[in-house]
Amino acid sequence: MDIIDRRPNPHGKNLENRRRVLQRARSAVQTAVRDAVARGRIREVGQGNAVSVPSDSLHEPSLHRVFSEGVREIVLTGNREFSRGDRLQRPPAGAGGQGSGAGQAGESGGGEDSFRFVLSRDEFLDLFFDDLELPDLLKREISTTENGVPARSGLSNEGAPSHLDLGRTMRRSIARRLGLGRPKPAELQEVEERIAELEALRPASAEDLEELEGLRERRGTLRQRLARIPWVDPVDLRFRRYTIMPQPATRAVMFCIMDVSGSMTERMKDLAKQFFLLLHVFLERRYKKVEIVFIRHAESAEEVDEDAFFHDPRTGGTIVSSALELMHTIQRERFPSANWNIYVAQASDGDNASSDTARTASLLRDDILPAVQYYAYIEITGSGAVIRGETDLWRSYRAIADENDHLAIRQVGDRKEIFPVFRDLFSRQHHSAEA
């Protein structure tokens, strides 16, 4: 009997199979993921989420019989009270079933209707943000790039042992050994055995002695050759060579501007935060290097950290221009538009001090829009500031949006709408249609 400890063997033999299931059910899983997000809170996004998808795309059909009518006999156990001739009420859903041998019945738990995946955070987010991206990211030439990535670039005859290309090395070694006629150890052994045989021969004939002489000479050559021609010579060695290729990294900054004034109710703030959370997760997931600047404003604006932005309650009046001014200042000081892709997302209920709206509009049109790549404004509907069907701010933004393609404005009234709007703002098709 052998005992083999397999525990150190690689785990996850089925990862590839699992990936293929996801691939196959991709669209169904994607819809399910988005539904799950629309129902749950976005903060929980990707934390060991289970999604159920309809099993259509994963159905494995086979030819099998089902019993629909006629007579059949069923043997059961655990009889307590029946005697022959008893008549029983038929159970409602035909609980008997066919129990058709194969033993696959249990695997889908609650029946074949749906299939549950537990996705890892990465899988979840990949599916979630599958076709989204920051628009126009590469339009601006960004030269200041740093990190290099090692890339295969042929072979070299020196390198670290871990880069040794064993196959090539041995191929060369064999070729060299054949070419130089390195004898096989077996050959030498044969000769030696023959010599021993002849030496043991007594008396030895003249031919034997002659042969012995020849063999001894041959043994000398063989030994010399074996010693002189190595098994693996340094000239055989081949190493995989890597060179560091510079990887252009695009630099981008996202300004998140949120209105936290008193006119925003808790529900509206919640919606705005959900939107920014989504944006945050999206940027973190899809772009290695994106700076995020959080700005919140009431009657005055301040730059805050992520934690304060999402959790710290603050309220007051509303002056939108204060936030835009701050954003513009920060952008000029820290993120010159020559070197950065600049994005802005602003959320507000559209309520603004009436004297301020004109200033906000001119700030946006003249100073900010020329510097940024994309500006997304979402308005949380349900505010009291609606006049003739739209808010002041909306009206002035809309006028600007008509002239500027890279200003996008959307309205959100309900949590369910957040993701569709988000997708709309950042979907690939969206900007390629524009471009």
Binding site: M1, D2, I3, I4, D5, R6, R7, N9, H11, K13, N14, N17, R18, R19, R20, V21, L22, R24, L58, E60, P61, S62, L63, H64, R65, V66, S68, E69, G70, V71, R72, E73, I74, V75, L76, T77, G78, N79, R80, F82, S83, R84, G85, D86, R87, L88, Q89, R90, G96, G99, G101, A102, G103, G106, E107, S108, G109, R116, F117, V118
Partner: protein
């Protein structure tokens, strides 16, 4: 090891405790194995393949499940689906992992989970490495249908071949063939070809040569130009071609592999791989109950003997009893979780009962089992049963009134024309034989495999493949699945497919399914 050997003829007092407590190490496993082997070969006379015991983690156990215990397998999404299913059930606590998996190969590989206690490792060794192993080696079905020494090599070949196909022809093309072949794998076995031993390796070699030959002559078969409208000549030629094609044919995958006109050689090879593996697994469901019963009976016997011999302590033996009684628990029909028989429970009960009949028969046993009642050779009788029967015939032969009473079995007659279910047999003198006959039928492969034959190919027309399912009214194929499966069949065949469901008695066509060519 040495301890037992030094015990000589009587292992009884040779060693004392093999271990105490829960922890195990490799030496303990080795000692237990040797002690168990002593009992298995000297007292039970088991004949086994060489054993290989592999220690794995629970995570690896999930992988093992997915592949039906096979250590290597090709890649396909359906395995991923099964894996996710098992994983979910396990994580949600719906399913405990079996503490062992054993595969029918030579050497016989048993997997032990590292989480098991020392007692469980010993129990698993007795159960899998001896019980199942003996059954695999001796049961007629396995001997006739599978070649355990080659299966591992064949699976390795299959994985490599399919991976190479994926490189060369693309994932999608390979997946298409596999999907289709998987859908047909229950119709991909030879059921009636008798005692032909499957030598997978030789088959493989032979098939390659055969295929090379067929590739060169194949097209001739299809050059069946309609001869000048003569009906008689046409049908004669059709009959001739049918003979050449070997129709009727129940093994759909075999037929496709050999005869489908539009498949590339690599597609045929993939179909062949699926077919070979299906054939390898074909005996398993037919002897599942006996196989589990045999393994359970063996481990109960061996563990009891170990306890009697003082090799394991009382605590360990209690653990054995506890674990065994969980495994052989048979919930009643109304206990929820389905009304099916637990194969471990029924198998174990019947085998225990055979021992009782052989050693302490009652008058009833003498009447029912005159051949074996009181023959005094319980173990010999069991070994004979393990070797020569399958579930259906085993029940038919050995299900005793006592087991029927112990399980309190009863039979329902389900006539859909009636608004009620009729209890027409219970565990009494008048009902024993009815119950036994009906229960045996449940395990009859004829009832759980759907037998479908290719009966004709329209060689002179549009090459439509004609299939027939002989059944009776009320026992038709599930329509949606049949339709999808035929789509797959048609995509492999390359032309249209028609499946008639025919009443076996009257010949009336009950239903028709069809699928057009995919292109």
């Amino acid at each position: 090891m040495d301890q037992i050997v030094s015990g000589g003829g009587s292992p009884a007092r040779s060693g004392g405790l093999l271990y105490s407590g829960n922890d195990w190490n490799f030496q303990i496993i080795r000692d237990c194995y040797d002690a168990i082997e002593e009992i298995a070969s000297h007292e039970l006379g088991l004949e086994i393949y060489t054993n290989r015991v592999e220690i794995i983690t629970s995570e690896q156990m999930l992988d093992v499940y997915t592949a039906h215990g096979m250590p290597v397998g090709y890649k396909h999404w359906s395995f991923g689906k099964r894996f996710i299913g098992h994983e979910n059930a396990y994580r949600r606590g719906l399913m405990g992992l079996a503490y062992e998996v054993v595969i029918n190969s030579d050497p016989c590989i048993s997997y032990l989970m590292e989480e098991n206690s020392a007692t469980m490792q010993a129990l698993v060794i007795a159960h899998a490495a001896f019980g199942h192993n003996h059954f695999f080696r001796n049961n007629r079905l396995f001997r006739e249908w599978t070649d355990p020494s080659d299966i591992l090599d064949y699976l390795e070949f299959a994985r490599g071949y399919i991976a190479r196909c994926e490189e060369r022809h693309g994932l999608q093309a390979v997946e298409r063939v596999l999907d289709a072949a998987h859908a047909l794998q229950n119709q991909g076995v030879n059921r009636h070809s008798g005692a032909r031993k499957l030598d997978l390796k030789a088959e493989q070699q032979r098939a390659k040569e055969r295929r090379a030959y067929e590739d060169s002559v194949f097209n001739d078969l299809w050059r069946t130009l309609p001869t000048e409208a003569g009906d008689a000549a046409g049908t004669a030629e059709g009959a001739h071609a049918r003979r050449l094609l070997g129709l009727p044919e129940e093994n759909l995958l075999y037929f496709l592999e050999k005869n489908a006109p539009r498949l590339a050689p690599w597609e045929r090879e993939i179909i062949r791989i699926v077919r070979m593996i299906a054939q390898y697994f074909y005996p398993q469901p037919q002897v599942k109950m006996m196989n589990e019963g045999c393994a359970t009976w063996v481990h109960v016997y061996i563990m009891r003997r170990l306890h009697e011999l003082g090799r394991i302590d009382d605590a360990a033996y209690l653990e054995v009893i506890h674990s065994t009684s969980n495994v052989i628990n048979q919930p009643g029909f109304d206990a929820g979780g389905g009304a099916s028989f637990n194969p471990y429970a029924l198998g174990y009960a019947m085998m225990t009962d055979i021992v009782r009949i052989c050693t302490e028969p009652t008058a009833e046993d003498r009447e029912w089992f005159p051949d074996i009642a009181g023959n005094g050779d319980a173990i010999g009788t069991l070994r004979h049963a393990w070797a020569e029967y399958r579930d259906e015939s085993f029940i038919q032969q050995f299900l005793s009134p006592k087991v029927i009473r112990d399980f309190r079995m009863f039979r329902l007659s389900d006539d859909t024309a009636q608004p009620y279910l009729l209890v027409d047999a219970i565990h009494d003198e008048a009902g024993y034989r009815d119950i036994r006959r009906s229960l045996a039928r449940v395990y009859d492969p004829g009832t759980f495999y759907t037998e479908i034959e290719i009966v004709d190919v329209d060689l002179l027309g549009d090459r439509t493949l004609k299939l027939e399912h002989r059944t009776r009214a009320g026992q038709l194929l599930k329509a949606g699945d049949a339709r999808q499966t035929l789509d797959y069949l048609s995509s492999l065949w390359g032309y249209g497919v028609i499946l008639n469901e025919v009443d076996a008695q009257t010949g009336i066509v009950l239903a028709t399914h069809s699928a057009g060519p995919s292109q």
